[in-house]
Symmetry: C2
Subunit: 390 residues, 2 copies
């Protein structure tokens, strides 16, 4: 604890703009816990994982608690070779020198352009002021971690367990390079619920049901991370209560990410049901949710279910094409592999004008199901991504 630091919502925080973003917006955030935080994380499965991912995983292995979190946007510190790790160590050592906090109790997390060396001197120069200032967990922290995001993404929640009140505070960033596992996103979740050994699986279970069920463009980032920190004291508490609360926060944030998908106007829940197994349902939902032809049809508000059917066939899932039914919300499009008898172009078009709807694919092959939230593929997506770096 340091005199003068203000702790609110579980943490003390400060933000800064050191010029990593050309817009001059906040690009650095420092989060400090009131006590060493027990933590865990889920990370990208991208083989070209960025330096901060490699570093965080090595810390997790060591099993030390965490005192401080430095997050930057505007540079991903990805594809930066061994120097990327050296730069992280340089910064954590610098914080140690300035604050007395052990460098191995500091996590660094980055998002932004891939392939540019981290401007460590610029970040380093901002550290004294970042460590000096402090406020609670405020909106500006969620702003400082954004890149192409248009909206800040935060979620807070309180819940009782064994008669005691606990809290979860969380923030996320992400709007492109979004696809399991994981999306290009950083998620930070802090709780005063006491966490112990079972924390690892619990987070993975929750991530599988939330952040791993969204896609914007089928691309997996080098920097995806979901961090969970606990500053809870020993207390009688029920992990199911916590898991429910955590799931609620994770689903809220993952919806916010897909809602803010690059160029997205619509959120569509692709539901594959009655598959012969979950893997088949997943393959099918994933192929449909990432099909450019399906996504442009959603953008064009065209109930072109034939493209859904074609993508399903290309998914590698196992099913009988003559038993497939497809509907948009509750309106039938295809039944038994062909146009439904009660097909109504008007009714389907009406559903596609909504900002949210479901495409439901019934394989009639078993009882497994899976769903993924996707977006439309629009002119704006192209615009954002044809010019993002420059």
């Amino acid at each position: 604890m340091k005199d003068g630091w203000i702790y609110r919502s579980g943490i003390a925080s400060s933000v800064y703009s050191c010029g990593l973003k050309k817009t001059g917006q906040y690009d650095l955030a420092l989060l400090r816990f009131p006590k060493p935080a027990c933590w865990t994380g889920c990370f990208t499965q991208n083989r070209c994982a960025a330096a901060p991912i490699i570093y965080a995983k090595s810390l997790l292995k060591q099993g030390k608690d965490v005192r401080l979190l430095l997050i930057n946007s505007g540079n991903a510190n990805a594809a930066t070779g061994r120097e990327g790790l050296d730069d992280i160590k340089f910064l954590t050592k610098r914080i140690e020198a300035l604050s007395g906090i052990d460098s191995e109790e500091i996590i660094v997390s980055s998002t932004g352009v891939i392939g540019e060396p981290l401007p460590k001197e610029r970040i380093s120069a901002a550290l004294p002021e970042l460590l000096q200032r402090s406020s609670g967990f405020e909106d500006s922290v969620a702003d400082a971690i954004m890149t192409t995001d248009t909206k800040r993404k935060i979620s807070e929640l309180s819940f009782y367990s064994h008669g005691q009140l606990f809290h979860i505070w969380a923030m996320a960033k992400g709007s492109g390079m979004i696809f399991p596992h994981l999306a290009t996103m950083l998620v930070f979740i802090i709780t005063d619920f006491p966490l112990s050994e079972w924390k690892g699986n619990l987070l993975k279970d929750v991530v599988d049901e939330s952040f791993n069920k969204i896609t914007v463009d089928g691309d997996m980032s080098t920097n995806d991370s979901v961090f969970l920190f606990s500053i809870g004291e020993n207390a009688k508490a029920n992990k199911t209560d916590f898991k429910d609360a955590l799931m609620s926060v994770a689903k809220e944030l993952s919806e916010k990410i897909v809602e803010d998908g690059e160029g997205a106007h619509k959120i569509v829940n692709v539901v594959v049901k009655n598959a012969s197994g979950v893997e088949d349902a997943k393959k099918a939902a994933s192929k449909i949710a990432n099909s450019e032809l399906v996504k442009t049809a959603i953008y064009g508000e065209d109930p072109n279910w034939g493209r859904v059917y074609a993508a399903l066939g290309a998914s590698g899932a196992s099913f009988d094409p003559l038993k497939v039914s497809i509907s948009f919300d509750d309106k039938p499009a295809c039944r038994n592999g062909k146009k439904a008898k009660d097909y109504s172009e008007e009714a389907l078009s009406k559903i596609m004008k909504h900002n949210r709807f479901s495409i439901i694919i019934d394989l009639n092959a078993g009882d497994a199901s899976y769903n993924i939230f996707t977006t439309d593929l629009s002119y704006e997506y192209i615009k954002i991504n044809a010019s993002y770096r420059s």
Copy 2:
């Protein structure tokens, strides 16, 4: 043989417009061989294969020669259930009644919208005139099989084998739903080179090196077909000479398809080399060639090699991220997993302004390689596909 039919380039042909295309352009083509043609085919691996695919495969199994080919555009006869097959049988029986040609010696091939019943009566009404008229293998036939294609795609070639002159005539359609295996495309290749038992593998080998190495949007169609017909008489001939000639025709047509990719301005050859195995090289090339982020960067002429690196990491291929090098043509972008020391933004930007260039990924892990031709993802792609059906 029928009096009055004109055979040129190996076939007699006629075209018609029966209103399957809203534009009123040719949508029916009839091709007739001067003698029963020995044939083979490669077909889509889409599980929801269209009725004409199922029908052609059953004919191939029977092993009968082919006399006549009816091709329509504007309707794919896909997702049409058992009625789709009944409609094909109705049409082939009708041709049998009109021409005396055994219905089992007739192939029907379709491309167009998925999920609408084939307007068989309209096609049937056109048959007498289609069977009456005749000209050689002319440009209009290649036009009649087009959908969103903007250019007709034909290829002709002559070659000598054992001192004898042989010919190949071929045409293709395809510009969207293009990805191995196969693209949304129909390809018809006719030769007077005599074919016998080895024909099956030979065609597959050629298709793997040509049509299976192009992608426009990562989607696999329900109707993809490559047909190869031989009307050659017994003759001494060398199958290697034929394979070389066939490869040349197949590569020319596959380049024409990707050049005419929906909304495409650029053709980029994604080359993965020095992989530890061909499967790894293929996974990597395929993921990069289909990444929306890579394709929008190509459209924006932005040498954002970090997206190539990220897509590579997400591909599932096995390699050491710190040994990866990436170049655009001969200009280095990334070496040993980070920005190349001799990186020149200017030199790379200059390459990206070209209509054709290569992105070369060196994994430094072995000696296997694979390449795929892809296109940029543009506003025009969205425009074409947000409104194609209507």
